[in-house]
């Protein structure tokens, strides 16, 4: 029974657990529930991915109503991979939360924190698994509202203004997405993505469809923090509690990028993007994001904004991969989404350990700490090298595929941007490593007992080892991404 229903159970279990969590008196009991739910979701998502890779698409009708009238969950490789990414990050961050949440959140707020965490998790899962476009909007808002609350729990008062800014921009984005859905519905009379795809290609309401596509893209681009619409992200990631930063960095913008990919490749066909030159726009925006994010990242004096700006740079790579509109390009994007989730979560977790040890995340005040905290520092080095894309780490594979996809289309300027972006990544990663390891310790700190806390170091190192292992054994992530792209089945080489 579970096998057939695991698609919906992944969304329903957190939904059942969230109100229970909110009612519990203390943080530890809520944590136990969260941990159980996350672990179950991880197992189910791996099961789904296994099914999908072996070639069967999963189709689930809510309430037994057949689409296009009812809401259907259509799972192909793309969704399954996203679900696995979200579950992995969610589970590991939940382990990390055992230490980090009591350190950051007052005891009486912890149950609510965990409830919001579950809601955010289920919203992201729902967004990536549903086959109904209005359902995407609903889950987008569930996850966004939970995210605003989570970000607002940061210990600085700037967290409040950062979260408010995010709320305003996020709601404008969601509203734009809603307008886009409305216009697409007006043109076709359907909300089911598969059905929309067929009807859009037959529809004669060209202007309506153009407008719909524009609104949908701008709405999602705001949530994905694509280049000119990224202003909310650095502040939100910087002032959020470290647990939240680690979770969001690994999941939230990725899910929005996935929705953009889904819109471009399934709902509006790649041919449509090519006709409207939308792919060129995506590539240009992506290229600017890669450079701009890296430049700003180099200029930061504190670890969290540095990582946040670097995330923006990586979102640029996703957009380039989607914009190439080829099977290889989409595959590169999916692999990069997966890899970047591993890398950025590792880095934020390691940054958290530094913060709990020293009470500061300013790079200058952390000089020499790497020598006192070898475990954390090693994790930062591994993830940092992956971020640059050094061979032997996961980051190399995705950038390799991106370069392949660009060469395939003779888009040499893209190759140049990729190389330049990686070169700039070397600068900001080196900046971290140099201060942490090679500079003398300036400020006296207690040294190194917090990094031996299992709850902190186990998830960090699980991810760091995954960065290396998946970089050497390329079969897993590339295989999954290949299955994801193949299951779309509509990709013709340009």
């Amino acid at each position: 029974m579970v096998g057939q229903h695991s698609v919906i159970l992944m969304v329903v279990l957190p939904l059942l657990a969230a109100p229970v969590t909110a009612l519990l008196p203390g943080g530890r009991s809520s944590w136990a529930i969260v941990m159980t739910v996350m672990a179950l979701c991880l197992i189910m998502s791996l099961g789904i991915l296994g099914d999908v890779i072996s070639g069967s698409l999963i189709h689930y009708e809510l309430g037994g109503w057949a689409p296009p009238w009812g809401i259907a969950y259509e799972i192909d490789g793309l969704n399954a991979l996203m679900a696995v990414i979200i579950s992995i990050v969610g589970t590991l961050v939940a382990i990390y939360a055992w230490y980090s949440v009591p350190a950051d959140i007052p005891e009486n707020k912890q149950p609510l924190f965990y409830a919001a965490y579950l809601l955010c998790f289920l919203g992201l899962l729902g967004m990536s698994m549903t086959g109904d476009i209005f359902n995407v909007f609903v889950f987008l808002e569930i996850s966004s509202l939970a995210t605003y609350a989570l970000v607002g729990m940061g210990r600085n008062r700037q967290a409040l203004t950062a979260s408010f800014q995010y709320l305003i921009l996020g709601t404008i984005g969601a509203t734009f997405f809603l307008i886009g859905i409305g216009l697409a519905y007006a043109a076709t009379g359907s909300l089911n993505m598969a059905d929309l795809a067929i009807r859009l290609s037959e529809s004669t309401h060209v202007q309506t469809i153009h407008t719909a596509f524009g609104f949908i893209f701008i709405g999602m681009a705001l949530k994905a923090a694509v280049f000119p619409l990224h202003q909310w992200l650095p502040r939100a990631y910087t002032y959020a509690p470290i647990t939240v930063s680690a979770f969001l960095a690994g999941t939230s913008t990725k899910v929005a990028a996935y929705v953009i990919a889904r819109m471009v490749f399934t709902v509006f066909t790649p041919e449509y993007s090519r006709q409207t030159l939308f792919n060129e726009l995506l590539m240009v925006l992506g290229a600017i994001a890669v450079i701009h994010g890296a430049v700003r990242s180099i200029g930061q004096t504190s670890i969290k904004p540095l990582l946040a700006w670097s995330s923006l740079s990586q979102i640029g790579y996703f957009m380039i991969g989607i914009g190439l509109l080829s099977a290889t390009g989409l595959m590169a994007t999916m692999i990069h989404i997966f890899n970047h989730a591993l890398i950025k979560t590792t880095l934020f977790m390691a940054a958290g350990i530094l913060l709990y040890q020293t009470g500061s995340l300013r790079i200058a005040s952390l000089s020499g700490m790497g020598r006192h905290m070898p475990l954390t520092f090693a994790a930062i080095i591994i993830a940092g090298l992956s971020l640059i894309g050094v061979p032997g780490t996961v980051g190399f594979i995705s950038k390799w595929y991106l370069v392949l996809a660009a060469v395939e289309q003779q888009a040499w300027w893209i190759v140049a941007v990729l190389v330049l972006g990686s070169a700039m990544a070397i600068i900001y990663v080196w900046k971290l490593i140099e201060t942490l390891y090679f500079q003398p310790t300036t400020e006296p700190h207690d040294t190194g007992h917090i990094e031996r806390t299992p709850a902190l170091i186990i998830p960090t190192w699980t991810l760091a080892i995954a960065c290396i292992y998946l970089g050497l054994d390329t079969g897993i992530s590339v295989g999954a991404a290949e299955a994801a792209v193949n299951s779309l089945g509509l990709l013709s080489r340009p």
Binding site: V138, T161, F164, I168, T171, Y239, G359
Partner: protein, 131 residues
């Protein structure tokens, strides 16, 4: 010419109304520094979208979509249902936004955005920035 205007502009007056309302909302969000007015702008923006959906579902001469004898033409109920969901979401968003405003005014003692930014700048130049 008149045909063109009447068929493309006048008959789609609901879209014009939507666009005007939305722009009022967006302009309010952008131009005002007061956080509460920003929230008001957000609500106006959303109201424009609600209007667009509901006017879209109207069928000429149709009644409310309730099954009753003697009525065969009725409006499309789906956009109305979708907007019910969107209104619920809007209520939640507004409540959350106001909660933030209350907490911001408690910690900053102001709800003007320029003053908030000024205070943040002041703080980060005075103290060593922790983050």
């Amino acid at each position: 010419m008149i045909d063109y205007i009447s068929s493309h502009w006048v008959s789609h007056y609901n879209y014009w109304a939507t666009i005007v309302i939305m722009m009022i909302g967006l302009y309010t969000i952008i131009s005002h520094t007061n956080l509460i007015k920003k929230i008001a702008g957000l609500n106006i923006l959303q109201a424009g979208v609600f209007l667009m959906y509901i006017s879209m579902g109207v069928v000429t001469d149709g009644t409310a979509p309730i099954a009753a004898e003697g009525f065969t033409i009725y409006s499309n109920p789906l956009p109305q249902v979708l907007m019910l969901t969107a209104i619920v979401v809007g209520v939640a968003t507004t409540a959350l936004a106001f909660a933030f405003v209350v907490r911001i005014s408690e910690t900053y003692h102001t709800v003007e955005e320029d003053e908030l930014l000024f205070q943040d700048k002041l703080q980060s130049s005075e103290e060593t920035e922790e983050w």
